[in-house]
Assembly symmetry: D2
Homo-oligomer: 155 residues x 4
Amino acid sequence: MTQSILNNTSLFSFPIRVYYEDTDAGGVVYHANYLNFFERARTEWLRDLGYEQDQLRLIEKLLFAVRKVEIDYLKPAFFNDQLIVTVQITKVGASTLDVSQQMVAVNKKEEQLLSVAKVLLVCIDADKFRPKKIPKHINTAIKNSPYCTNTLKRS
Amino acid sequence: MTQSILNNTSLFSFPIRVYYEDTDAGGVVYHANYLNFFERARTEWLRDLGYEQDQLRLIEKLLFAVRKVEIDYLKPAFFNDQLIVTVQITKVGASTLDVSQQMVAVNKKEEQLLSVAKVLLVCIDADKFRPKKIPKHINTAIKNSPYCTNTLKRS
Amino acid sequence: MTQSILNNTSLFSFPIRVYYEDTDAGGVVYHANYLNFFERARTEWLRDLGYEQDQLRLIEKLLFAVRKVEIDYLKPAFFNDQLIVTVQITKVGASTLDVSQQMVAVNKKEEQLLSVAKVLLVCIDADKFRPKKIPKHINTAIKNSPYCTNTLKRS
Amino acid sequence: MTQSILNNTSLFSFPIRVYYEDTDAGGVVYHANYLNFFERARTEWLRDLGYEQDQLRLIEKLLFAVRKVEIDYLKPAFFNDQLIVTVQITKVGASTLDVSQQMVAVNKKEEQLLSVAKVLLVCIDADKFRPKKIPKHINTAIKNSPYCTNTLKRS
């Protein structure tokens, strides 16, 4: 019996619908667009945590830039598919975040795992494009969230 | 006998190849991406005139923003098609440019007209997003070019 | 006193969030991507009417292709903006639909109209890419919907 | 002394210009769009080898689908940058290709390495989306090319 990805409360999940713009002449979602979907989910995870990225940029002068992606394409996503994209933080560094993500199709009763990705984010200065320490309050909020496996040690 | 678009020396023309990223599950170039192709051609027309847009933004603090587009989709463009996109300036205003553009497929011996567009550009201040007069030297360069039908009056 | 677009029950409306993927280095939503947003809203309007486009293609062998677009860019949309995109059918032809659309930003209490578009759709055969009569049941459903100003004549 | 990537004759290279459509509000090329650039280069590598992908699909009923990508973002690419994207085949399997790719900015005299990627392609049946053996003539052409390090053994 496989465990449901969608019932896993340690994964933040966000629904995404596939439109024509996302597909290519192969009849499936164009491979680069999977990265768009993964980023939308990370944006919504940050919003859920209380952080709006336009405010982070304006007030904290920071951006989370993508430094590395490892992505596996397991099954194609098709036009009109209803997808769920998940976010889980597996490591919080001084200026980096390791993110584990999944893309699942939920058209019928069964879940179908379409893609998994490991994304390394770097907190950078929005003007200088140089790494910058993740502010304490953000670091704490991430570690305290239910979607982080690298939790704060509590004595 | 139809006149060749490509032999018309009053049209600036730029070649564009259709890749998978440009297509959709309908098997053709996704309709919004035609606007990308038209913009690439306008960028290359400006470059041909001697203006790099990153420099225009940095030094002249200006952007050419799209204010209005009227586009006709006559025939579909397909994956791997070799296209030619044209640019012709039909009117130079104080802060606006009227641009007439065409997209032609040139896969075989014959030209096939796929799309025509009328684009209204506004010269804007890059920071304030407000209309700004087109600098004299740019206005003159545009009117003097072979690709402008709204030429300088010469006595 | 301006009438609210969003309280107008004769307009189908669909919420869209602006992500990084939608923006460009000018700091605003890239002009071609407005067409993506307008299409997402048309897709959801059809779904609301009871029609899934993948099924329409498979069963009715039809696509609604974009034949013509007239779009006005009134104000820029920014990263993280919450938008509402509307759909209203103004004319139902034998094989065409005239669609009137608006894009509104709803970040704060006030609505801001960012863009308006007139889109001409043609019902085409999915394989031959030739115009095809809109099936009777779809034509009727569209005309009977609250989002169509070209309603069925009733005696 | 660093060896020039561009003078390396074992790398297929293809020039790509950065347009507004490729950038995001961070002021740089949007991370997902790097995958577009890498794919354009692979398409041109196949064309250089004598294979047009629309013909491969029609005649050989095959597609090269992306199965896995590992991508490192080393430095940002900016609007108007002139890039060179390289392709090198490091392994030819029965139905897979291991591809090593680089993205280099060549705006000034110096080359700047912006990104490297390892891409795993799978030859699939264009209709069934199932792995399929790479046809003998294509396998041989790839191995015989100067851009493959997994060359044919010659006795």
